[in-house]
């Protein structure tokens, strides 16, 4: 019993991180219909930025946990957002009117560039950050126990807060309305006076910011990263986005949580050797029965 509960906690935190990164995929897909393969590497860059921010803060003698964590968050989100903007401007905007596959290849190239740029500038070594927040809550259940670190609680809290803020932005603000309008019909939106290029740029910035949030949280929790971490987590987050229905924000979060839980439960109860096989099989099965993902709108075939 305690083991299953612990696995649920593991899966939920992992899943919320997948969800945050999946948002970047799903928003970009929703608005320009491209799979942004470099997104996982944007997340990777944010891991480095987190460590850099923490190193800078401790260099300047700031070592209270709240200051560091908020300073790091703001710094990382701003710089990662700039990465999102520059990448879009450089590698994707020139291809705006080309086929979607061309942009996909450009994105794969961008992913290689980011990985190797970070490897060259920061070295290939494994990086780590010092433990910032230790300690855990322990619930005793029967013979066993469930232990949840404060950091895990913080991840859950911050992830859902981030989701909440994003939902507010998309639903209530002017920028959000412009995003939704552009998503529905880019040409019409531009006729109505929306600067669609700017909206697309801001979507990349928002996606990168969400990846940055995930990067900060994961880096604080696991403390370990290298220039290659973006790849696996990027593929998983993309899977989560498709699972939930690509283009749908709640779908991304739901897909992330489902993927995280299924991985944790399968690895914990059956075999970690085949957990990825299970995740992908689950995806295939769900897509066979719901070809547009869990919360995606079914595609209407226009004649």
């Amino acid at each position: 019993m305690d083991i299953v509960l612990q696995q649920l906690v593991n899966g939920l935190t992992l899943g919320s991180v997948y969800g945050l990164i999946a948002i970047g995929y799903t928003m970009v897909y929703g608005i320009i219909g491209m799979i942004n393969f470099a997104h996982g590497d944007v997340y990777m860059v944010s891991s480095y930025l987190t460590a850099i921010a923490i190193a800078l803060f401790s260099f300047f003698g700031l070592d209270s946990f709240p200051i560091i964590i908020f300073g790091t968050l703001i710094f990382t989100i701003i710089v990662t957002g700039a990465y999102g903007w520059v990448i879009e401007r450089v590698a994707y905007r020139p291809l705006r009117n080309s086929s979607r596959l061309s942009v996909l290849i450009s994105a794969i190239g961008m992913s290689l560039i980011l990985q190797n740029y970070v490897q060259i500038s920061q070295g290939a070594r494994q990086q780590g950050i010092p433990t910032m927040l230790s300690g855990a809550i322990r619930f005793d259940i029967g013979d066993g126990f469930v232990q949840i670190t404060y950091m895990k609680l913080f991840i859950l809290f911050a992830a859902f807060l981030g989701m909440g803020v994003l939902t507010y932005i998309i639903q209530k603000t002017k920028l959000g309305r412009m995003c939704r309008a552009t998503q529905q019909d880019r040409k019409m939106a531009s006729i109505l006076g929306i600067n669609t290029d700017r909206v697309i740029s801001s979507v990349f910035v928002i996606g990168a910011a969400m990846a940055a949030l995930a990067g900060v949280l994961v880096t604080l929790d696991y403390g370990a990263f290298d220039f290659y971490v973006g790849f696996i987590i990027g593929i998983k987050a993309f899977t989560a986005a498709v699972l939930g229905g690509i283009g749908s924000l709640p779908g991304a979060m739901l897909g992330g949580v489902i993927l995280g839980l299924s991985e944790a439960l399968f690895a914990g109860l059956i075999s970690s050797d085949y957990k990825d096989v299970f995740s992908f099989s689950l995806l295939v099965i769900i897509l066979i029965f719901r070809p547009s993902g869990l919360l995606g709108k079914p595609e209407v075939e226009k004649v």
């Binding site: 083991i3 612990q6 696995q7 593991n10 899966g11 935190t13 992992l14 520059v86 401007r89 450089v90 590698a91 190797n116 740029y117 490897q119 070295g123 290939a124 070594r125 494994q126 990086q127 780590g128 950050i129 010092p130 433990t131 230790s134 855990a136 322990r138 066993g144 126990f145 232990q147 670190t149 994961v218 696991y222 403390g223 370990a224 990263f225 290298d226 220039f227 290659y228 971490v229 790849f231 696996i232 987590i233 991985e263 944790a264 439960l265 690895a267 914990g268 075999s271 970690s272 050797d273 957990k275 990825d276």
Partner: protein
């Protein structure tokens, strides 16, 4: 469009970086992952080999000819290893190779070196299959996974008296080979493992597996793999309140293990098997000091790579640069290196296994256990 300029800059930087010149006659390849996820190890190999070549050249070279090193990047991919091996023997006309790093690269590459009659000395590939195939030209100056597994198993069963052992590996040639070797020996001692699983290399979240270890109530966790996974794994074990002893192999020998684990307190008490400290040999003291003076810590495989280069140089020197004769010579003779006297058996493995158990302390240092 600032991007265009950035690209141009990088090209310029790259050209400048690539312009390394060395006028010499004996070409020796240094093959390893100079790019990719394991580039850190490639760097260790290169540093050791580079220093050794410089030192040997300063003393007059091999048989009077200077060593020229060629950096050969396989990124730990077998596909690239084959192509770079062909390039080394063919275009660069290398007579010997120090490398490769990953066993999965060394195995396909060794066939090509054998056909071309090129001497191959690997400082790091520990998979038994490499020398078990009976190629006459293949040597290693490191141990074998099965030797390492033996040491770990006898320590776990004998010294720790463990009954409930969980075995994890990273599903790669090295990690799995190590885990299997340790498992076989342990089973031979009559202890069955309570858990045997693989994790995915490149992931950082092992909470699910850690919880599973908790559920089987293991008192020892043996991990076959590298520090990039071992660090997060041990940290997540401690965070979930799991106090089982963590034991691994030489894949975690790096200062990075501590920083990746998040804090020295997490690595406190972690055990690992590793060759007797490569920097501890009296013969290598000068070299170690020179490394440190130039700001390089001779960690991990740096000294192994230096040793491999010395072995190559000694053999080529004794046989007047004939690599095939050099292979035969190495099977017969022992060589004085910075890591003591090395002697090879018929397969090309070292005759003496020097694996011992090390323990990490709460300061993030490791010391040899005396037993």
């Amino acid at each position: 469009m600032s991007n265009t300029v950035v690209r141009k800059t990088l090209i310029a930087l790259a050209v400048a970086g690539a312009a390394f010149t060395a006028q010499a006659d004996v070409v020796i390849g240094v093959a390893g992952p100079h790019t990719g996820a394991y580039a850190a190890f490639g760097e260790q190999l290169w540093r050791g080999a580079e220093k050794a070549a410089m030192d040997i050249n300063a003393k007059g070279g091999i048989n009077g000819e200077m060593i020229k090193l060629v950096k050969a990047d396989d990124a730990c991919e077998p596909k690239q290893a084959v192509s770079i091996a062909n390039r080394l023997v063919d275009s660069d006309e290398a007579v010997a190779v120090v490398g490769h790093f990953c066993s999965s690269s060394s195995i396909p590459a060794s066939t090509i070196y054998e056909e071309a009659g090129v001497l191959m000395v690997t400082p790091a590939s520990t998979n038994p299959a490499l020398t078990e195939r009976g190629l006459p030209n293949v040597f290693r100056v490191c141990g074998r996974d099965d030797q390492q597994g033996d040491v770990a198993a006898s320590y776990i069963v004998g010294d720790l008296g463990a009954k409930r052992v969980a075995i994890l590996h990273d599903k790669d040639t090295y990690g799995k080979g190590l885990a299997d070797a340790m498992k076989d020996t342990m089973n031979a001692y009559g202890v069955e493992e309570v858990l045997y699983e693989g994790l995915t290399r490149g992931e950082k979240d092992f909470n699910a597996v850690v919880t599973k270890i908790r559920s089987v109530d293991a008192d020892v966790v043996y991990f076959g793999g590298l520090h990039s996974e071992a660090g997060p794994l041990v940290r997540q074990m401690r965070e979930q309140g799991l106090t089982a002893t963590f034991i691994s192999g030489d894949g975690i020998v790096s200062d990075e293990f501590v920083s990746v684990a998040g804090s020295p307190e997490y690595v406190d008490g972690v055990l690992m098997t590793f060759g007797a400290d490569p920097t501890s040999y009296a013969a290598g003291k000068v070299v170690v000091d020179e490394f440190r003076a130039s700001g390089i810590e001779p960690e991990g495989y740096v000294m192994y790579s230096y040793t491999a280069m010395q072995v190559v140089a000694a053999a080529l020197d004794a046989t007047e640069l004939d690599p095939i004769a050099a292979s035969d010579w190495l099977h017969e003779n022992s060589i004085e290196t910075v890591m003591g006297t090395k002697k090879f058996d018929d397969k090309g493995d070292l005759t003496i296994s020097d694996y011992v158990m090390y323990e990490w302390d709460d300061k993030g240092n490791y010391t040899m256990l005396n037993n």
